[in-house]
């Protein structure tokens, strides 16, 4: 069709003059006229001949009354504000009616060489080349497997070369985006994975192609396409009704071998829910501990250590919101609602250049988008907590919301405690409310809010309360199929209060808070089929309230004290390119330049150079005014990774990363606690720097159903903060006097085998890793272990994990989880003595001993209700036992004097088999 128009245009451009007939006036009166009636009448009245494609006009009904109007006015009135256009060729007495595309009756500018003195022909609008540009072509919504979808501008013969398709992969049921779905061309190595919004862009040869689309928890789908030119294709996938079918660690079955990313673990909520959890409720943080290279100091904390990094070196993001305290109940429960979490991703080696600010890892927790088609929800009831989730469309297929809430009601249980604890109170809740709005096909807006709160009162005495508060707005804009941007504005906050009024004279209230305001712009540009560019900038404004202590009642003698607020600006710009040098060799190279400004108002102590930072060595102090830049740190951070495919199933990958961290969590307890404080880098506290080099071999076997990998890494950390003996961190006005700079090194090898499909699926990991710290700070004064390397608290050389799921029938499946690791290092005394009325112990070198090895196995049976798709309520049960063998794993061994005598104890946290049951309902 296009070709025909084009020929006509060429033919007509020979002579272009307005004929007499156009000025002839006509009177018409159409009532719901079809195009035939319209054209026939005008042909009669105007003597022009009309050309049009009847099928294109079959939905057109014209109602128009006009008296004594020229033909062009009548046509203008008839087609005003419609997709229809007309073109009058007066010289030939012809009128062409078209849909969507307008025929220009004049040649394009510059078509003829313009002679001097000759007026340039006036062209009403730029000429659009319909052969190459997919302008405003509607996005194809593809739902059928056997239909051939035509993409781009149809031509009779297909040009050689590649064209780009892009679009969203969505759930056919809820309309929610499916992140991490893989789209690849059958019988070829071409493939991509959708981003967090379910968006993909794929360059592939023009012509007929068969796309294979796979998403977690979705039925595998095929789409047949005929690719003419660049175009858009949205793909709707159907839910896998038998949701117990698969435990998949990765959305992309080929990603293990094909992606350049190393050491990225993706887990969807269905996999998470199948792993037995201690209280039966899926815990999105605890699952992280089953992944290779992740360690923890013990079971009662959600703090985790990635490849030898400290627990505060993990950036935990919930839909791009920084969560400072991801746990409830002092670390026993993750603060993420499993009913609305879609999945998690842990980056531990190749950290994309868009992320920064933490040394070890990025843990991205992603919530589902609300259902855009129907109202649904779910609820779960347990002994300690219950949860509710509601979601649905606000405007069908355009705007949706999702709400999730959890609350605890454990006070009734506390009433059963012994007298001494009877008046305690413990509660928590968390709420999520996310909105997703599609403005048009190129603009999406996402609003995401989160609040979590914990309250704990010990025996009507000391109360602890802590809370996360986060909100952000994201605007995703597609400039065209090759460039899109994501603009994020957000606020993240964390605060805690401790109050006591038991002793009226000492009654106090202690407050701590972090506030950060973020602005981020991320761009992705598909430069060509070999290069994908990511670039952007971000800025975080920190305002910390490092502590304030005030009297809690009128008779308190507590002197109000406040550690001066800290302000800083952490900014970064980044640029990265994923460059496919050959189909088998890809390099991702990126640079992130981070800039940290410590801002006034602040008073900075100046120390005598080269002397320990003690109160005695303070020379003087400098006062800086509000907003003044006190100290600037900057660092280019390098993020490089490369992949080479030896064959379709075997690839080699290598990566090198450097990172910087400007905010430090100060904790001198074994496990991180919600009442730890944070400190920004300042002239006396240097930023932490880290670098990591890693190398891996990845092999897939049996049609990509078995993924294996071997990865080795070496990591170095500078300026990690450790604490002087007896350091007082809370309410310290001079934190630099309490801390020591520590160097760290970590290395290890991780072996992993995963089976992603079939009745039996799961993963087995073995990791050998070591982590050492060293204090050789020249100005530290007293050194731990005399300045020699000592093992970190989470140095556990051998670690083994098995997580497996076996599907007996579509309704029943069993899961088994087995964990083994070397016991963590501890400091034990070397002697005892009698002093101050009791036996006491004497400690020497740090972390010279280990607690006994850790072993635990968990078992669960998942029972699904019936699998009828169309029923009001779907219910499911999970029954299981945590710590099946009841092994009393040591959390710690320690010496304590009681009644004047030294005894040695072992503390175990989950020291016997813990049965659990969990009931869930979906509506």
């Amino acid at each position: 069709m296009k070709k025909i128009y084009f020929t006509i245009i060429l033919f007509l451009t020979v002579k272009l003059l307005h004929a007499q007939g156009i000025s002839k006036t006509i009177s018409v009166n159409f009532q719901q006229a079809t195009v035939e009636q319209f054209a026939t009448e005008l042909e009669v009245k105007s003597d022009y001949h009309f050309y049009y494609d009847r099928t294109q006009f079959d939905s057109l009904k014209i109602t128009l009354q006009a008296n004594d109007q020229p033909l062009n006015n009548i046509l203008s009135l008839a087609f005003h504000n419609t997709v229809y256009h007309y073109a009058i060729v007066a010289s030939k007495m012809q009128v062409f009616l078209t849909r969507e595309k307008e025929i220009l009756t004049q040649p394009a500018a510059g078509y003829f060489n313009i002679k001097p003195g000759q007026a340039q022909p006036v062209v009403s609008s730029p000429v659009i080349d319909f052969t190459t540009t997919p302008v405003k072509k509607p996005v194809i919504e593809s739902t059928l497997e056997n239909k051939l979808y035509e993409i781009g501008i149809k031509t009779n013969d297909i040009k050689a070369g590649k064209a780009t398709i892009s679009g969203y992969v969505k759930s056919g049921k809820s309309g929610g985006a499916i992140a991490g779905a893989s789209i690849y061309v059958s019988n070829s190595s071409l493939g991509v994975t959708t981003d967090q919004f379910g968006y993909y862009t794929l360059a592939l040869p023009r012509g007929k192609q068969l796309l294979i689309v796979k998403g977690i928890g979705m039925k595998d789908a095929r789409r047949q396409i005929m690719l003419y030119t660049d175009g858009e294709l949205n793909i709707e996938l159907q839910d896998q009704v038998t949701s117990l079918k698969e435990v998949k660690i990765s959305a992309d079955k080929v990603a293990n071998v094909r992606s350049t990313e190393m050491a990225v673990s993706r887990l969807d909520i269905k996999s998470i829910k199948q792993v037995p959890a201690v209280f039966g409720e899926a815990d999105v943080l605890r699952i992280v501990l089953t992944l290779p290279g992740v360690q923890t100091v013990g079971e009662a904390t959600t703090g985790f250590n990635v490849r030898g990094g400290a627990a505060d070196q993990n950036l935990i993001l919930l839909d791009d919101k920084t969560i400072y305290n991801p746990a409830h109940f002092f670390g026993f429960f993750a603060a993420f609602n499993p009913d609305i979490v879609k999945g998690i991703e842990l980056y531990k080696s190749t950290i994309p250049e868009k992320f920064g600010g933490r040394l070890s890892s990025v843990l991205e927790v992603t919530n589902r988008e609300g259902n855009k088609k129907v109202f649904t929800g779910s609820a779960g009831i347990g002994l300690l907590t219950s949860r509710l989730n509601v979601e649905g469309p606000i405007v069908k297929d355009k705007t949706s919301f999702i709400f999730g809430g959890r609350t605890s009601y454990s006070d009734w249980l506390l009433k059963l405690l012994p007298q001494a604890y009877k008046h305690s109170h413990a509660s928590f809740y968390d709420l999520n409310l996310d909105l997703s709005h599609q403005v048009n096909k190129d603009n999406n807006i996402y609003v995401s809010t989160y609040i979590s709160s914990d309250n704990f009162r010990l025996n009507s005495d000391t109360t602890y309360s802590y809370s996360n508060r986060n909100a952000n707005i994201k605007w995703k804009h597609n400039f065209n199929s090759k460039l899109y941007s994501l603009l994020t504005v957000g606020y993240d906050g964390y605060k805690y209060d401790i109050a006591s009024s038991a002793n009226p004279v000492n009654a106090y209230k202690l407050k701590f808070g972090i506030n950060q305001t973020n602005l981020k712009a991320d761009f992705t540009y598909y430069l060509n089929r070999n290069n994908t560019l990511d670039f952007g900038l971000s800025s975080i404004y920190y305002k910390l309230n490092p502590g304030s202590e005030t009297p809690n009642n009128a008779s308190s003698l507590i002197v109000p004290d406040k550690v001066a607020d800290e302000q800083a600006l952490e900014s970064a710009i980044y640029l990265g390119d994923k460059y496919d040098i050959t189909p088998d060799f890809t390099i991702s190279a990126g640079i992130r330049y981070s800039l940290f400004n410590y801002l006034g108002a602040q008073t900075i102590r100046n120390y005598a150079p080269g002397l320990p930072r003690t109160p005695l060595n303070v020379v003087d102090s400098t006062n800086y005014g509000g907003g003044k830049v006190i100290k600037t740190y900057s660092r280019p951070e390098i993020r490089i990774s490369a992949r080479y495919n030896i064959d379709d199933n075997l690839s080699l990958k290598a990566s090198y990363n450097t990172l910087a961290q400007y905010i430090h969590q100060l904790s001198n307890t074994t496990a991180i606690s919600p009442i730890d404080i944070y400190k920004l880098s300042d002239p006396n506290i240097k930023p932490q720097y880290g670098s990591q080099v890693s190398f891996g071999v990845f092999k897939n076997a049996k049609q990509n159903t078995i993924e294996t990998s071997v990865e080795v890494y070496y990591k170095h950390i500078d300026n990690y903060l450790d604490y002087k003996s007896g350091a007082k961190l809370i309410m310290s006005h001079a934190v630099e006097q309490e801390v020591l700079n520590t160097q760290g090194k970590a290395y290890g090898v991780e072996l992993s085998v995963r089976k992603t499909t079939g009745k039996l699926n799961g993963w087995i990991n073995y990791t050998y890793s070591r982590t050492f710290l060293k204090q050789d700070d020249a100005i530290a004064g007293q050194l731990i272990n005399g300045g020699a390397y000592y093992p970190a608290n989470y140095d556990k050389p051998h670690s083994f994990n098995f997580t497996g799921n076996y599907r007996i029938t579509h309704r029943y499946s069993v899961s088994l989880d087995v964990t083994y690791s070397t016991g963590r290092p501890i400091t034990l005394p070397i002697a005892k003595y009698y002093s101050n009325g009791a036996e006491r112990v004497f400690y020497s070198g740090r972390n010279e001993y280990r607690i006994p090895d850790y072993f635990r196995s968990d078992f669960s049976i998942n029972i699904d209700g019936n699998h009828k798709v169309h029923q009001t309520f779907h219910n499911s049960w999970t029954v299981g036992v945590y710590n099946l063998t009841g092994r009393q794993n040591a959390y710690s061994t320690f010496f304590q004097q009681q009644g004047g005598v030294i005894n040695s104890y072992q503390l175990s946290i989950f020291a016997r088999p813990i049965p659990f049951i969990n009931y869930n309902i979906r509506f």
Binding site: V559, S835, G899, S904, I909
Partner: protein
Amino acid sequence: MSAMKKILYILFVLAGATACKKQLNIAPSAKVTSYLVVDGNISSGDSTTITLRRTVNLDSNSRANPELGATVAVESAGGASYKLNSKGGGVYVSAPLNLSSGEKYSLKITTSNGGKYASDFVQVKNSPPIDSVRTAIKNDGLQISVDTHDASNNSKYYRWEYTETYQIQSAFESQIIVVKNDSPPPPDIQTPRTPEKKVYNCWVSDTSNSIITGSSAKLAADKISDAPMALITANSEKLRLRYSILVKQYVITAEAFNYFELLKKNTEQIGGIFDPQPSELTGNLHCLSNPNEPVIGFVTVGQVAQKRIFVDKANLPGNWVPETPYGSCQLNTLLYARKVTSTIPTIPPIYVNEVNDLIYGGFQLAVDYAPGGYLASTPLCVDCTLRGTNKKPSFWK
């Protein structure tokens, strides 16, 4: 941080009481050490007592390993020296010293094997008087606490020790002492108990075994209110008859305060999830002859304030029933001795003492068979001197 421990206890209960604290056998130390341990306060206006001990192996049964034969002296920065005399058991005592409050003092030690040790020069910190030692009746027992203040605002850091003394009473009162008759046949020789030999009423003394510190550094006034000393559980035997507590109050420097806090954390508050990790402890003593040898202890200097109170059973709730170790005590009727006759006529009969390690409890018993017997019970039930002293303390009113 002990609040954290209680929180964890609650969490464990919520988690179905799954947590478990198990006592282990103590393994021997990997490294054998014998470091000097110095305890004591250089007292102003009173005699100074310094105790020297050595560290022992972790699995050792000996609690204290006294350092004998050392030369100990208190020296002032101005050069004055006061010698301490050995009282045995590693205890060294001086005559009452009148120290100048503007001067600094140091402890010098030379051990018998030639090791030379010295403390830093420490400022004299005299304690203000204790305003009151308070008692409060709580649900779970009797809380003893202290109030004090320093109008001159110079004290700020405090440390307390206490000595509890309480009266105990045996299950049965013994009126007689029975001495075995070396020349049988029975009866044994029996004599009535003189007041000095009475073993019915005794007094037991315990010293505090935990470190108690307090600070008013954060307060607008140098005032300590209701600082907890001891909690005596409602069913404690200490409260059965009469109880007394002597509280000693020391004022210490900020450095000493930090040392004692850390010592407490290292030895009393450890092992919990949110408890601090043990750390090296550096006091204010140094080994001069071998600078790498650790010395344990923190010498403080100053006048001690003390105050004693008494608590009578009559002032305590009537439903507080003390638990004594006498619950299973019984009086048995025992023969003086049992005559055992040999089948060989040439061997004379022997008398087997039936009450071997049992103590003769009360009265001679008229039993209807020869040679008679006593009402008796086990020594713990009768002899309170096994647990305390039967000499009434001089302060006991």
